[in-house]
């Protein structure tokens, strides 16, 4: 379980989100909200981005998440897929993946790691030689999103926050994405998706929908998402 209590986020002395009380259990959770309301900020603050100051409490499977460094949050089972993954020249996709797995003290040997990585590359229809390409350098938006998905599958976190995982994906890739998320969630995982994209939401078995607003937070089931998709954010007043 991921539980936030009076969780507030500030940047440059400006309050972005205040007193958020939410809980996320195993299943698929959608976060929606108008542009600029702080959806990505919420995700980054949970991961410990040093740009943000936080207050309140966040409990992650009984642990105090806010007391941990960013890498400790990841090692304890949190994962975040970036909306705009950061390019790093000189670091290949597989070198990076191996380093992440080593940090997690994975039992897999190098051959098993490469084999699992290659298998995911093939499932997601990425190019041959993807392992040797530099991390998020000269890759399309869709390729970067697929790469984040591979990282999620390889690292096998307890909770994955996916920030607009559907942007840049074509129809086929979107189907693969929904299938991958559904399959992943079967293993008692928490998946939190920040998205407005109708096709993604309609193709997933969504458990909760949370709408972040300037002054209020509304939570409901998938019908809430459909109302917003049909009528816009005015549907929630």
């Amino acid at each position: 379980m991921l539980v936030t209590q009076e969780f507030s986020i500030k940047a440059n002395d400006e309050i972005i989100l205040e007193d958020i009380n939410l809980d996320f259990g195993p299943g698929i959770h959608i976060i929606m909200g108008p542009n600029g309301v702080g959806k990505s900020t919420f995700a980054h603050a949970l991961m410990g981005n040093p740009k943000y100051e936080t207050d309140g409490a966040v409990e992650f499977f009984g642990k105090d998440l806010l007391a941990m460094e960013t890498h400790e949050r990841a090692q304890s089972g949190m994962f975040m897929s970036f909306q705009n993954p950061t390019p790093i020249s000189g670091l290949s996709n597989f070198q990076f993946m191996k380093q992440c797995l080593d940090a997690k003290q994975s039992d897999m040997n190098i051959t098993q790691k490469l084999s699992a990585f290659t298998s995911h590359v093939n499932e997601l229809n990425l190019d041959q030689g993807w392992d040797k390409k530099q991390l998020n350098v000269e890759a399309s938006g869709g390729e970067k999103k697929k790469n984040e998905l591979i990282q999620m599958l390889m690292l096998d976190p307890k909770c994955a926050i996916l920030d607009e995982p559907d942007s840049g994906l074509d129809i086929d890739a979107l189907q693969t994405l929904t299938k991958t998320i559904e399959e992943f969630t079967k293993h008692d995982k928490i998946v939190i998706i920040i998205s407005h994209y109708e096709n993604l939401i309609r193709n997933l078995n969504v458990d909760t929908v949370t709408v972040l607003g300037k002054n209020k937070i509304v939570r409901g089931d998938v019908e809430l998402a459909y109302s917003i998709l049909d009528e816009g954010f005015s549907a929630i007043g």
Partner: protein
Amino acid sequence: MKGLVQLDKSLSYTLLELPNLVNIGIRDNLLTSKSKDKWFPESSDDCFKSIKENNPLLNTFYRNMKIDSLKTHINTASDTKNKKIWDNNQNTFDIILDEGKVHYPNYLEQDKSISVMQPFKKYMNFNKYQPYFQPRGRLSDLCTLNSIGPIGVKFTKNTKQDVSICYANTFDDKDLSCITAIIEIGKGTNLVLDEYFENKKDSIKLYNIVYLIKEGSSVTINRKYDLNDKDNSASIVESRVIQFPNSKFTLDVTGEGSKHTQDIVDLEIYNDCYTNILGTFNCFDKSINNMYVNLDHKGENSFSRVDVRSIIDDQAHSSFLGSINVEKSATGVDAELFNKNLLLSNTATVFTEPQLDINTKEINCKHGCTVSNIDKDQLYYLQTKGIDKFTAEETIKRCFLTI
């Protein structure tokens, strides 16, 4: 020897004082040797005249190179030279070069594709290389004058692909070492040369090396600096590279600096050449590393690229001066020059300076110099995937130096 001061004791001197000492016989050298006429008689006289008029250490060329430690370092000349015994069979290098001497294993004696130039052997014909040892107003002039004798290695097209060279220390003393060398790569030769510059503890080593890359040849030099005793050693390496038409030359330098390191590279590039100069340096503690690359495009349709990257941490110092000159007749030249620096400490210093002198219109020329810190977004990204801060920083540094 007539005219030379015979020393009974060791003599201490600084590099600043050396211009007044080279001709009075603190040791047998290019100026005072009875073999002078066989080597560079005119150019050594010209160099001597030049250093007497202008002390090279006061040249503004060194303005960003933090040379104070060179000026004040005490060199100790001794008349008793303790020689190390080199056993080439136990050595990993094919050829060992030192002051006035080339050591090489027996198998090379049989190898007709490599010939060695020793200063005191007959028929070495050093005179013809004089034009490449004209004064430049730099420490290379002092190096040439104070050398025991010039040395060289010639490679021909039958040379095996990979050859390793070590610039070693035969003399176990605290005196200045001066190595004046000619590396000649014959027409149509494909060669990978691994160079290793050994430090001399508590001493300065000066090098003046001329590389002649003849027509149609292709040469890659992988240059590495010794990391042992680097905090107590100084290496001043000046390389003059002449690229004859239709030749390819790559120089890949790696190092961590030292008490004082200079890697000075001057290239003359003629028609239809390919030139690639790469440098990656990781400088920390109090190390000093300076790189200078000067490309003179003298012919048409050549391509050159310079990419030098340095990490500067702690109290280290780094300077880079890159210069591209394109002569009027050198149309169709495509030249790029980049210097990137990762400055990781408030007490470290870095200078970076590009200079372009273009005298023709029909060329393509790019340059860029940057100084930055560790990218916070990259650091955070790696941390979000479980990599701790220290490892993430080391990863970013390693990636920065990956060209």
